[in-house]
């Protein structure tokens, strides 16, 4: 499940195989608190690529939540099944990187207003393919 948040409202949500979207919504929203916590903890530290990746935010019994924040304070939250132990940190990072790249591509579109829901088909395709790989 992916979710993009900006100003703490979701820009984009996508979940794969499971249909518990509502549960994911809740999870993501709660994890936002953790993200904010980490952001504030970083202080004025220079924000580089590495720090954009927030790592495992919240391991629960069922799933893991990973966070990533862009320089413009757009947060990417990823929830994956704990059963997917094959997912390593590097893979998560690369996924976030891909997400970030796609997001910047969307930003380049002059018809896209930051803060709008993301309806880009290319973006959808990318996210779907990525999630298919994992799940």
């Amino acid at each position: 499940c992916d979710l993009f948040c900006s100003q703490n409202y979701p820009l984009y949500i996508r979940s794969v195989p499971t249909e518990n979207e509502l549960k994911f919504h809740y999870t993501v929203h709660t994890s936002l608190d953790v993200v904010d916590e980490k952001i504030s903890a970083m202080g004025k530290a220079l924000v580089d690529q590495r720090e954009l990746y927030l790592g495992l935010l919240y391991p629960t019994e069922d799933y893991k939540v990973y966070g990533y924040v862009t320089n413009s304070k757009v947060k990417f939250v990823m929830v994956v099944d704990s059963s997917n132990t094959a997912l390593r940190d590097n893979e998560i990072r690369s996924m976030f990187r891909k997400l970030h790249n796609s997001y910047t591509d969307i930003m380049c579109n002059p018809f896209y207003n930051p803060g709008d829901r993301i309806h880009s088909r290319a973006f959808d395709t990318m996210v779907n393919s990525m999630m298919m790989q994992v799940c």
Partner: protein
């Protein structure tokens, strides 16, 4: 609509590709491209009106239907029959013959090839008599008159008739000049003209196998070798020209030469350096250049967003020329009812387009100054961005450049055709043109296409999306054709967006460029004759015409309409006189003196019409002025009321 002999037309041909966008089956393509080449053998992009008219008449559809078809395919609007319009028209004929209503939607289905009874030679089609074609204004070269009589005798019995007139007459606007915005149209047009015109043996075989259009095939066979060869030549030339830019295939996503030129022109209006790019956003508070530009097309934002996504392949937030062409093309397609693809069609890829873009750029003398290789545009991104910031100045520069260029090209069909670009993005250029007090010629030019584009865009919001200006059936006379179209569109454009409806009667401009009377021809069938004659003196007249604009600086203020009208007024007289001597040598055989008289009479008529149009325009402008005054007074009073408050 009469089913007509369409029953015979083999439905086998209807095995269209059935793509999402009005695809043409292979046979259709061949047939159409054949027919098209028949109609305009020379390497022109538009089919001669007269020949097209003949062809249509050969379809044995009632005049009303043919008229409707002409309107639907956009030939009237554009003023000539470019490949796109031609193909659409052919498809519509097929639809009509099959009993479908004459609509764009009806040709989305697979249809049998249209049947043309006693199809005349391509040449004839090319130089067909538009006058006979109801409402369709074709330029009627004198040769056409010949054909007309010929045709009348045998209802579409096309003979070598066309051969002689073919070369001089059938000079439809250079393909680059014709803007076929409708992908369908050009897609079809190519196929159709190729099919129908390329009436060579191989085609005949195809025809016989695919469609039992015995008569039409027979007619084709009747064509002389010359006819066949000419279309072949023309078609090959066309193909050659447009090959890179996606030619006559059934792919609606291909950009024809005319469209490409139009796009390039528009790009130029936004960014004079073809190597640079149009930024999606820039620092100006006015917003992004490209965004505003495409917003004018009045497409919904999500669709525009998708179009941008598709066309900005490098995702840099800016559009290079090929990207811009692709985006513009997608906008055009969408406006004409095509669904946007999920991925960028192959023919719209920037690499693909770049090569093609280079061609028109180089071919077009108009763009001499911009003949830098397009690929370099990729490198100058940053630079382009900086340039883009001066979006305001771009139109001026482009206009200025156009002015300079205009001097070079008299017979610039390209420029003229460019003017006939859809009026979507007129505003930019119009503003630029307004700012330029000089180069009257350039003004009409820039205005023509810019205005047309903007106006078109504006109009699109107002009217049901109509096909972008397509090459009218004016056929041979590219120059005249273009000018006419430009003026027509200028007026139309202005009407929709800017000023009070400009006098729609562009007819007064018949002899503007001699040949380019397609628009006028459309409006006034009578005009066909003088234009046809004028055609002969194309080059001479064009110079005359061009010389005309500068002589009337005062009127230029009126912008497009004024200019358009002025030039026609002046040009008709001059053209007539100059055409007289010129006509004689040109007129092959026929009654030259009678034609001259006709030309003179037509010119007189046109002048009168022009006068009427100008008078109307004048009154309209006066009204506008009054309204503006009122507004001003109201604002001033408001200001007065507010003033005491602030003075506290």
């Amino acid at each position: 609509m009469e089913q007509g002999p369409a029953g015979g037309s083999g439905p086998a041909a209807a095995a269209g590709t059935g793509g999402l966008l009005l695809p043409l089956s292979e046979t259709e393509q061949q047939r159409y491209s054949e027919l098209f080449s028949r109609c305009c053998p020379p390497p022109e992009a538009a089919a001669g009106g007269s020949s097209v008219g003949e062809l249509f008449r050969a379809s044995q559809l009632p005049p009303d239907t043919l008229h409707q078809i002409t309107e639907v395919c956009g030939a009237k609007r554009v003023g000539y029959f470019g490949p796109a319009q031609f193909y659409i028209a052919l498809k519509l004929i097929a639809a009509a013959q099959s009993g479908f209503p004459v609509r764009i939607e009806s040709i989305k289905n697979e249809l049998p090839l249209p049947r043309f009874m006693a199809l005349k030679n391509d040449t004839e089609v090319c130089y067909g008599t538009p006058a006979e074609f109801h409402g369709v204004k074709f330029q009627v070269p004198h040769a056409t008159l010949e054909k007309n009589s010929y045709k009348r005798t045998d209802e579409g019995d096309k003979q070598e008739h066309k051969s002689p007139p073919m070369s001089p007459i059938c000079s439809p606007p250079a393909s680059p000049s014709t803007y076929q915005r409708i992908p369908l149209s050009y897609g079809y047009g190519k196929a159709r003209s190729g099919l129908e015109q390329q009436h060579g043996a191989p085609y005949e075989v195809r025809h016989s196998t695919h469609q039992q259009d015995g008569p039409s095939s027979g007619n084709y066979g009747a064509k002389s070798a010359l006819t066949c060869s000419t279309p072949n030549r023309s078609l090959s030339v066309e193909r050659e020209q447009q090959d890179s830019s996606s030619q006559y295939s059934d792919d609606p996503w291909r950009i024809t030469e005319e469209q490409r030129d139009y796009y390039i022109n528009q790009f130029r209006s936004l960014q004079p350096d073809l190597n640079a790019f149009i930024s999606g956003q820039h620092a100006f508070p006015t917003g992004s250049v490209a965004k505003n530009f495409f917003t004018k097309s009045k497409l919904p934002i999500p669709e525009l967003s998708h179009i941008w996504e598709l066309s900005d392949v490098d995702c840099d937030g800016a559009l290079t020329l090929p990207e811009f062409c692709a985006a513009f093309h997608l906008v055009v397609a969408r406006k004409n009812g095509y669904q946007l693809p999920e991925t960028l069609p192959e023919t719209l890829l920037p690499e693909f387009l770049q090569a093609a873009c280079l061609k028109p750029v180089r071919d077009c003398a108009l763009f001499d100054s911009y003949s830098e290789p397009l690929p370099s545009s990729q490198q100058s991104r940053d630079f382009g961005r900086a340039e883009k910031s001066s979006a305001e100045e771009v139109p001026d520069n482009s206009a200025l450049l156009q002015d300079g260029k205009k001097d070079d090209k008299q017979a610039l069909k390209v420029s003229t055709t460019l003017k006939t670009i859809p009026k979507e993005f007129q505003h930019l250029t119009v503003k630029a043109a307004a700012q330029e007090p000089t180069a009257l010629r350039a003004r009409p030019r820039s205005r023509s296409y810019s205005s047309t584009s903007i106006e078109d865009a504006m109009k699109k919001g107002e009217e049901p999306p109509t096909p972008p200006p397509r090459p009218q059936k004016s056929h041979s006379r590219a120059s005249s054709l273009d000018l006419n179209k430009i003026f027509q569109q200028n007026t139309q454009a202005v009407r929709s967006g800017w000023l009070p409806p400009p006098p729609p009667a562009l007819p007064p401009r018949p002899s503007v460029s001699q040949t380019e009377q397609p628009s006028e021809v459309e409006l006034h069938p009578q005009m066909n004759r003088p234009p046809s004659q004028a055609e002969e003196n194309s080059s001479a007249k064009k110079e005359v015409v061009l010389a005309q604009p500068p002589s009337k600086p005062a009127r230029r203020k009126l912008r497009t309409e004024a200019q358009g009208l002025e030039t026609p007024e002046l040009s008709p007289t001059i053209n007539v006189t100059s055409s007289l001597p010129a006509v004689k040598p040109h007129l092959p055989v026929q009654k030259q003196s009678s034609k001259q008289k006709r030309a003179i009479q037509t010119a007189i008529r046109k002048n009168k019409e022009a006068n009427a149009v100008l008078a109307r325009l004048n009154s309209e402008l006066q009204q506008q002025l009054k309204e503006v005054h009122k507004e001003r007074i109201a604002l001033e009073t408001q200001l007065e009321q507010l003033r005491p408050v602030t003075v506290l």
